[in-house]
Subunit: 341 residues, 2 copies
DNA sequence: GAGTGCACCGTAAACGTTTCTGGCACGATC
DNA sequence: GATCGTGCCAGAAACGTTTACGGTGCACTC
């Protein structure tokens, strides 16, 4: 005898009553409820999730899919762990748990997503690093699974999203450099089709125009989102005859590689090339000269993601009457010495 | 009509036959199997995991619990993402999926573990950053859930583990520094009760002895495992009257903070203080002077973890007849310029 | 031509839970 | 005193799947 039956037999009541008592139903006497709860704690009983899911049709879990392979994930441990923490906190208030679903490098992300949906492992999903056209979104919509994306996409649909303020970062970076007199401002964008690259580049262009500067395609550097990409960026810049005087980065780790490559050519950020980095992170804080970049609270972002997702789940929509959330997440400029050139 | 019934009705055969066909049972004709598989693909059918788990008593998923709170995991330079990739690859060969279970900073890890076990969400578990006494292990053993730990622990038990070669790193670092003539070699160890700290310190002490050097408690620095900890370490060293001439680090990000703090005092690693770092990572590769540290393949480590876990699961033990794996994972010295002092 | 074995398939039970339905006991109401 | 309402609980159905069991038709054997 196992599970709820064992508990019921031990208390000499029916399993139905045990279930109602534990689930806070009204038609149970307070006395009985107390006995059940105490016995459950004493015997270490907790309802089997499979039985529960089968009957109720939901799993009380939310998935967060990450792609380990592509540098399109454009993120690292430190980014994700911070966000997870916030999401988990937001969900825990409703007894939902977060499970992270990592898609290995050797697996197709869309197929992986389909498998996870078919498994009915989670009630809702969060996906990050959205592509310009993201087939994962099509799959999620076809499955009618509530979801939110961290990052926008050109894929049609009415789904909720939260996106970092890439446009604002690019604009403020260009404004700042232009105000300091720079006229040849380069930009780094991802070499794949991740959506933020388009947003970043568009905003960069219009900021140039707004500052009366011409757009020069030779100043757009497509590099992988990694330190290697930053190194390559530095290499490409150093190899140019007519070097830009400043560069705006779109990914946090680019600054590391760029600094190193500049150093190898005897160049100093902030003196020979003005650099504005992207996200402030553990590594960027220790660069010399200090990096001008942008700050955000990962935990707050995670909480906002969790709450926006809850708002899109029918069972919680009344608690979070925000409708479909579409939100640009602000980032705060942290001045450093790297853009003093 | 949903699920397997819909598929069976569409094919005009019984649900039992559909199930047997999809699960590769023998007593179904090849012709029928083909039809079923094709129809399943066409209709996007995949068995509901809740029903499956309930019947079979397992979930075909493995959990990897990480503590978002502990400072050992707060900023770890893509350590986890690399390991996940390997684990996932190893498990995928047996149609098992990896789900990562992040324990939020505001939740007790042991309670979280108990909740996850009670949910019957996974068939086996991986835990990392084991403490000297780790109650999560007790909980796992009481639940009779197969598990493996990444890191050892003083907790009694016969469970499998894989541990990075902290002892070897400390010994080789001390040997190398002693051979270079250093006589006052400091060491950084974590300020919490994570197990690797004890291993690291013990090995450091015996290596001193082996090299005929005295042990000086004043040269043991207990600092948090973070860049902040490294900064604090640098601060403490700079404040000493009789400074050590070398220091051995136990955590990858310490080097970043240490470099910065030394710089603030006008000191240069490799000239004023010999530094041997721990794990080579994206950040450490960009330090100047280059850091002497140790290398390992995270993906291979993950694969080994996955296979060792499979070996401890009754259903897969015959495929992986390795018994209970207890293994020190080697790390390779990467010479740099930081220990030339 | 009855018996035997085999390949294939349908039927139904079982997994652990929640929830619907019904029913008992008791007090209140007219 | 019959009726009604209410508080509480037992019983059973249902969720979607796998699997033990039994049965049918066919080929083959003596």
């Amino acid at each position: 005898m196992k599970g709820i039956r064992r508990l019921a037999q031990h208390l000499d009541i029916s399993i139905g009553t045990v279930s109602r008592a534990l689930n806070g139903r009204s038609d149970v006497s307070e006395e009985t409820r107390r006995r059940v709860i105490e016995a459950a704690a004493a015997m270490g009983y907790a309802p089997n999730q499979a039985g529960r899911s089968l009957r109720q049709g939901n799993t009380n879990a939310v998935g967060f899919m990450i792609e380990l392979g592509s540098d399109a994930s454009s993120n690292n441990d430190n980014f994700f762990l911070g966000v997870f923490d916030g999401v988990q906190s937001a969900l825990a208030r409703h007894h939902l748990d977060l499970v992270v679903l990592p898609c290995a490098t050797d697996e197709d992300p869309t197929q992986y997503m389909q498998r996870m949906i078919a498994r009915h492992l989670v009630d809702a999903m969060i996906i990050s690093a959205t592509h310009r056209r993201d087939t994962r979104i099509d799959v999620l919509q076809a499955a009618r699974l509530p979801f939110i994306t961290l990052g926008r996409s050109a894929t049609e649909g009415e789904h909720p999203w939260i996106d970092l303020d890439f446009a604002g970062v690019a604009r403020r970076a260009v404004d700042r450099l232009a105000a300091a007199g720079h006229r040849r401002i380069a930009v780094a964008v991802p070499s794949n089709d991740i959506n933020l690259g388009f947003v970043f580049l568009d905003s960069y262009k219009s900021a140039l125009t707004a500052n009366g500067l011409p757009f020069d395609p030779a100043l757009v550097f497509r590099v992988p989102s990694s330190e290697q990409g930053g190194y390559q960026l530095g290499h490409d810049i150093c190899a140019m005859g007519d070097r830009p005087s400043a560069v705006v980065l779109n990914y946090e780790l680019l600054a590391l590689g760029l600094y190193r490559r500049l150093g190898e050519s005897g160049l100093t950020p902030g003196r020979d090339l003005a650099v504005i980095g992207f996200r402030e992170g553990p590594a960027s804080r220790f660069l010399a000269p200090t990096l001008t970049c942008f700050r955000l609270s990962l935990r707050d972002l995670g909480i906002a993601l969790g709450e926006a997702l809850l708002a899109s789940m029918p069972a919680y929509a009344e608690v979070y009457p925000q409708g479909i959330v579409r939100r640009i997440w602000p980032m705060e400029l942290v001045p450093g010495e790297s853009d003093r050139a």
